[in-house]
Subunit: 202 residues, 2 copies
């Protein structure tokens, strides 16, 4: 593999990422990806054989962007409320850097549950550990007796939803203004934590 080939491959992946994430797998056009990369369609097939494989490369890469933060929470030994304070800030920061990734991932998982869900289960299979840890803290009287799954989903939902619903939120609450919407997202890093804290602290 020459330097040039790895370079071209990266350029293609970056272009594919942009187009797939913006338009979705079905909405994306190979031609548009080629244009975005400044090359022609034939090269896309030379490097990735077909649209499906190119999509899978983009999708997996996108999905894995969100796993490291989760791993930290699952593997940490610190008290839950302490861990998630950091998690929420980091997680929202990651999403601010990649605001369209959550919507992209969720949509593709919804319209393609068959082949994808199998693969991904392997990568998020230790959630039990976190559930157990929350249960222990409930036993210890540190956290209110709430189904840990509800807690986890609440945290993720509060972090992710503002980005998935971006167009409508930005229109309705910020008259389409970009800056005040960004400020709102930034504020959320502490807001979400306080929300969670007040609702689950025993």
């Amino acid at each position: 593999m020459t330097d040039q080939s790895t370079n071209t491959e990266k350029i293609i992946l970056e272009a594919a990422r942009k187009v797939f994430i913006e338009k979705g797998k079905e909405g994306a056009r190979m031609q548009e990806i080629a244009d975005e990369a400044g090359i022609n369609k034939a090269l896309l097939h030379y490097y990735f054989r077909n649209k499906q494989r190119l999509f899978e490369a983009v999708f997996l890469e996108a999905f894995e962007k969100f796993l490291p933060q989760l791993k930290i929470v699952i593997e940490s030994d610190k008290p839950f409320l302490e861990v998630i304070q950091l998690f929420i800030e980091n997680y929202i920061n990651v999403i601010i850097e990649n605001p369209y990734l959550p919507g992209f991932i969720l949509h593709e998982l919804s319209s393609n549950p068959e082949n994808l869900a199998l693969l991904l289960q392997q990568r998020v299979n230790n959630m039990d550990i976190l559930v157990d840890k929350i249960n222990v803290e409930i036993q210890q009287g540190k956290i209110k007796p709430i189904d840990p799954r509800q807690i986890i989903i609440n945290i993720l939902g509060l972090c992710i939803f503002p980005f998935v619903a971006r167009p409508i939120i930005q229109k309705v609450f910020f008259s389409g203004d970009e800056l005040s919407y960004q400020q709102f997202l930034s504020d959320r890093k502490t807001e979400v934590y306080h929300f969670i804290y007040n609702s689950i602290k025993a």
Copy 2:
């Protein structure tokens, strides 16, 4: 307009709804919609001229399914915490009946912000009233001093997120089991309220 024509139109719309919501606008095929409706492609064009118009009919109808509940909250005179208790239950019930609608709407709004957002702004333009009402209750010391927009988005996010992320949640937390996932959703009607209550009650 004869009885037959209104009937056929309804059949087409129902088929289109199913296919568009499952596959998205780009992923949907006119042929599949025709098959689903038990007719042929030509009739689709006879009734709706082209794919774009058929899609718009489905999309608007879908979007408006979620407006009545919101209107009730906005126009009610009762205390906020009282109103949203009913809202959350009703809203989650509506989504349980139409579990793929939120993901469909959010995805189409994201990949088509231009033409759609304009139309929809008109239909959700009185959110200010709700913001003002929350602010009054904050002044009265009934609710913690939190940006009302954060509160509203939290409520919507907690209701909607479990459905948008359905495939992954069902796999990770319920091993793909349908019944326990449904139970989880049903429990959420009270869980989400308690969550909100604890986090914003002064």
